[in-house]
């Protein structure tokens, strides 16, 4: 077979080779941190270009039909690559010395893992990608080797492993039932012989993915991990690896287990309602900014989970005139909304966590208190004007105030909920958005209204570049959403039968 046949996968190949190269070079050269940073960034940009050249490719299968390159996988790959790139750019200001090569290599491996997951149409491949990403991020979560890091990584590792175990057990049942690991075969089998084993498998799969997506009540690890891990790693976890849970869940639940949609429809309705409400309520009581962001990302997972409910309610419904896109299906619209929300949230959360990274890395030197405590954000507008301004926009965007990236996904997703008759869920979600403003506003009022808590902070170049790039992307998506909506609609179509 010709080499060029694999062109759509060159991005993954490039990053894998680069990651190995980074480890090799790091062991040979001394003080190579800076170089590794640039090398990783360049590699990610190149991979992004490779993925972007096949943005809306027709579904193409590779490696015995286990890997599918399609609009959906490309959508998620872009999200993962952009997040990793932003994290790498910010990291160049922090990880320059010894060990930087390991850091960047782990980050690249994690990215490859996430990319593999987004392309997997086979449960074993999916699991391998999942573990590659997870194991790399377990190590990253403990990278600074502080007490808190270790605690965070330990929790993350234990919960992650339990989730994997649940998932794998569910997968094994699916395999036993279908005799195949391909998602399409499982879909056919579950449709043909629907029985108690399928239900148990569904239960295990939902619990496993619930952990990964941090849905309430499987969310407990997220605040502790996001708070304790190095802040830039938290950005990768919240914006990248959590979204990996979503793409995996989309593929497994919406394709393989679609026969059971009446069962998971109710489960996800309850999970979504619980997750967004509890996430938002819990965020109101936190004093640690990273915990606030963690709970906010739990709440966002709740919004995204609405997509499952919409698909369950409107699966295969006749196309209707929704919005102004001509006749389309509500289930497709729901997934498109979730994708837009995932894209927006990935950017906003990356930006927000990079902001906290800048603050905590500068504060911890001078105070013994918790570096992420909200009191350290007092007067940030004076101490670090660029960071504070970017954070301000991210907070408004997370709250869904137009015209930023936050509103567009919510709009499309909540619309789809209304079209599929889930008005109560849409209203609950909008009220939750209002509630979320309470804690975002609290951070803003600390940054802009309080007296400065200390002298001016030097805003390192890497952080500033990453923040400003994220800011531009967040505003760009909000002001010119048309192209992104169309792209998300194409990606969403992959999951649904035509």
């Amino acid at each position: 077979m010709e080499f060029s046949h694999y062109a759509p996968l060159w991005g993954e190949a490039l990053l894998t080779i680069l990651a190995v190269l980074v480890v090799l070079l790091g062991s040979l050269m001394k003080n190579s941190g800076k170089l590794m940073g640039y090398l990783s960034a360049a590699g990610l940009v190149a991979a992004l270009a490779l993925v972007a050249s096949n943005l809306t490719i027709k579904p193409t299968l590779f490696f015995f039909d286990t890997i599918s390159v399609d609009a959906l996988s490309q959508f998620f790959k872009v999200v993962f690559l952009v997040v990793s790139l932003l994290v790498v750019i910010a990291s160049m200001s922090k990880y320059t010395g010894k060990g930087a090569d390991e850091y960047f290599a782990l980050l690249l491996f994690a990215t490859v893992g996430m990319m593999v997951v987004s392309s997997s149409v086979d449960i074993i491949t999916l699991f391998v990608g999942f573990e590659l990403a997870s194991l790399s991020t377990y190590a990253l979560a403990a990278f600074d080797r502080s007490r808190k890091n270790l605690e965070a990584a330990m929790k993350y590792f234990i919960f992650g492993s339990v989730a994997s175990a649940f998932m794998l057990f569910g997968f094994s049942l699916l395999y036993g039932m279908a005799g195949s690991t391909h998602l399409v075969d499982i879909a056919a089998a579950s449709l043909a012989n629907f029985g108690p084993a399928t239900l148990v498998a569904l239960l295990f799969v939902i619990v496993g993915f619930g952990f990964k997506m941090a849905l309430v009540p499987f969310h407990m690890w997220a605040p502790d991990t996001y708070e304790g891990a190095p802040p830039l790693v938290s950005a990768l976890l919240a914006a990248g690896s959590k979204k990996m849970g979503f793409v995996a869940a989309f593929r497994v639940i919406l394709i393989a287990l679609v026969a059971l949609r009446m069962e998971w429809y109710m489960a996800f309705a309850i999970l979504a309602a619980l997750t967004m409400t509890l996430g938002n309520l819990a965020a109101c009581w936190q004093n640690n900014v990273r915990r606030i962001l963690a709970y906010s990302s739990i709440a966002q997972a709740g919004y995204i989970a609405i997509a499952f409910v919409v698909v369950g309610a409107a699966y295969g419904a006749m196309p209707v005139n929704v919005l102004n896109m001509g006749p389309i299906r509500a289930d497709q619209l729901g997934i498109a909304g979730a994708l837009l929300l995932i894209l927006g949230h990935a950017l906003m959360k990356t930006g927000a966590f990079i902001g906290t990274a800048l603050v905590s890395s500068n504060v911890s030197k001078e105070s013994e208190t918790d570096p992420d405590d909200i009191s350290n954000y007092a007067g940030l507008a004076k101490r670090a004007p660029i960071t504070a301004f970017c954070m301000l926009i991210f907070m408004f965007a997370l709250a869904g105030i137009p015209p930023t990236a936050g509103y567009i996904g919510k709009f499309v997703l909540f619309s789809s909920a209304i079209y599929s008759g889930l008005v109560w869920l849409a209203v609950l979600a909008i009220l939750n958005s209002a509630l979320s403003l309470v804690y975002y506003l609290r951070i803003i009022s600390y940054m802009y209204l309080k007296e400065a808590a200390g002298p001016k902070i030097k805003e390192q170049k890497g952080y500033v570049v990453a923040l400003v790039l994220t800011l531009l992307a967040v505003v760009w998506i909000g002001v010119f959403p048309e192209a992104f909506i169309n792209w998300a609609m194409q990606a969403a179509a992959v999951l649904l039968p035509q």
């Binding site: 006749p327 105030i401 137009p402 209304i418 079209y419 209002a434 403003l437």
Partner: protein, 500 residues
């Protein structure tokens, strides 16, 4: 005629805000220029404005997010234009009044300009989505103005202001979505176009009364909170007391008008198609706001809080005039919006000037200030007289029109207002004025002096405007009269509506 004049009107203060932010201490000059150009543009528009036309003028429309049916559509008619004029006038005067601001002047003037952008956008948007964006944008500069330049409890006041009005906006947003998702254009597409959606609310087959009632209630809540009307007014006194003077002025003169604008633009066209009980409910809210506001003002110790409650009372006239639904009362209510917009500026500026010249706003601690600041005293007295409704000033004309017009359809409510509020209104104004400015001067105030010339200038300009519009109301009521006819065209009276 300049093309895209409304976009220019919105873009210039926005550009000005960005430049002022980086202009350091020169920000005030940038701000002045960036607010004078919109004023000139709006005066130019006044010349070109067709006062007898009932259709939208200066319309611009571009596709923004076609797949969601969102357009950038702006335009003005007799409802919006007087408020556009008001916004450009007040913005200039408030910037002049704040000439001496020394605390972070670049941010301060940038926020004032951003506020202007927001209100101009609200008064000109003809697309619900755009309308909502501007509606929310307004909150942000005001939040920072209160929170950064405010008094001792500024954090609390800023957050309360934001959350309170944001929740109301969200209820409004839900109602807008309900309109959006229910109505389909003939070709099956969805639209946020304000006029199309409002016209569609008349169709009972699309919007059954039971459903329209809920939508209407949601929109109404959004506007009543903004106005603010009893019992949704509690955010206002806190916000006003803690806000810096310019913030209070903009809040009372422009932000409250957004609520009134919503009544005329959105509520009145829907009123004939909803449950008749709404007329009674709104009328009761209006009357309570007027009377309760006046009595609360009478009980205040802080002169600024007094002015804040007087706003609640005066804005009640807008609600009453709107819901009475006669040509006279609706025109009067629109004029009350304009008139209160300018008069309240001088009231808040007076309170602010007293605060920074004397150091307190507690009425009981003041006395005899006229002795040391005669010019200021004259202007302040003129302002208070305008506010209490002295014939010859704009406030009198407006309230007179509202009361005369309302008497025809809502006689009982009007009589309650007449009996309970007119004397009270006169009483709190005169009492505060007398106690603060006249009488023997207190020893400790022997050293106070006239405020800065720029403060006196902006206040004097407002008195002049109030006199001009008091003596020649036709300058602006002609426009409003056409708008009132246009609003009432489908149903001319409450009798036809079946209310009385």
């Amino acid at each position: 005629m300049i093309s895209n004049v409304i976009s220019l009107l919105i873009a210039i203060p926005l550009l000005g805000a960005v430049i002022s932010f980086y202009a350091g201490t020169k920000a005030k000059f940038v701000a002045l220029i960036a607010s004078l150009i919109p004023l000139a543009l709006s005066l130019q528009m006044y010349m070109e404005f067709d006062k007898t036309s009932k259709i939208m003028q200066f319309v611009e429309s571009y596709n923004w997010v076609p797949s969601l049916g969102v357009k950038y559509t702006v335009g003005i008619d007799g409802i919006g234009f007087p408020l556009v004029l008001l916004s450009t006038i007040v913005s200039v005067l408030v910037i002049i009044y704040s000439w001496g601001e020394t605390k972070k002047p670049n941010q301060y003037f940038a926020l004032l300009l951003l506020n202007e952008v927001g209100v101009l956008g609200v008064f000109t948007s003809l697309d619900f989505f755009l309308f909502y964006i501007f509606w929310e944008i307004v909150l942000i500069p005001m939040f920072f103005l209160i929170g950064s330049w405010g008094g001792p409890r500024k954090d609390y006041a800023a957050v309360k202001f934001f959350i309170y009005t944001h929740v109301a906006s969200l209820v409004m947003l839900l109602a807008i979505f309900a309109l959006y998702f229910t109505y389909q254009m003939p070709d099956g597409s969805r639209t946020f176009d304000m006029l199309t959606l409002l016209a569609a609310t008349a169709d009972k087959t699309i919007f059954p009364t039971s459903m329209l009632n809920i939508i209407f209630a949601g929109l109404l809540l959004g506007f009543l909170v903004k106005m603010p009307a009893f019992p949704f007014h509690t955010w206002l006194p806190d916000a006003h007391v803690e806000a810096p003077t310019a913030g209070s002025v903009v809040l009372a003169a422009l932000l409250l008008k957004m609520g009134g604008y919503g009544l005329f633009r959105i509520i009145l066209p829907m009123l004939p198609h909803v449950d008749k009980a709404f007329v009674t409910i709104i009328a009761i809210i209006a009357v309570i706001s007027i009377v309760y506001g006046a009595f609360m003002a009478l009980a205040q110790k802080d002169i600024k809080k007094l002015v804040a409650y007087s706003s609640v009372s005066h804005m009640g006239f807008v609600t009453l005039g709107a819901v009475a639904f006669t040509w006279m009362s609706v025109t009067g209510a629109m004029f009350q919006q304009f008139s209160h917009g300018i008069i309240t500026c001088v009231l808040f500026m007076s309170a602010g000037t007293i605060q920074h010249v004397v150091g307190t706003r507690v009425i009981a601690d003041l006395g005899g200030l006229a002795d040391r600041m005669p010019k200021f005293a004259v202007i302040m007295m003129a302002g208070f007289m305008a506010s209490l409704g002295l014939p010859g000033m704009s406030g009198f004309v407006a309230e007179f029109m509202v009361l005369t017009g309302s008497f025809a359809t809502l006689p009982v409510y009007t009589m309650i207002v007449v009996f309970l509020s007119i004397v009270t209104t006169a009483a709190y104004h005169l009492w505060a004025l007398q106690k603060a400015m006249f009488g023997p001067i207190l020893k400790k105030y022997m050293n106070v002096h006239e405020p800065h010339a720029y403060e006196l200038f902006s206040m004097a300009m407002i008195i002049v405007l109030s006199l001009i519009f008091g003596l020649q109301p036709g300058l602006i009521t002609d426009i409003m009269g056409t708008a009132a006819t246009q609003v009432m065209e489908p149903v001319m009276t409450l009798t036809q509506m079946g209310v009385i």
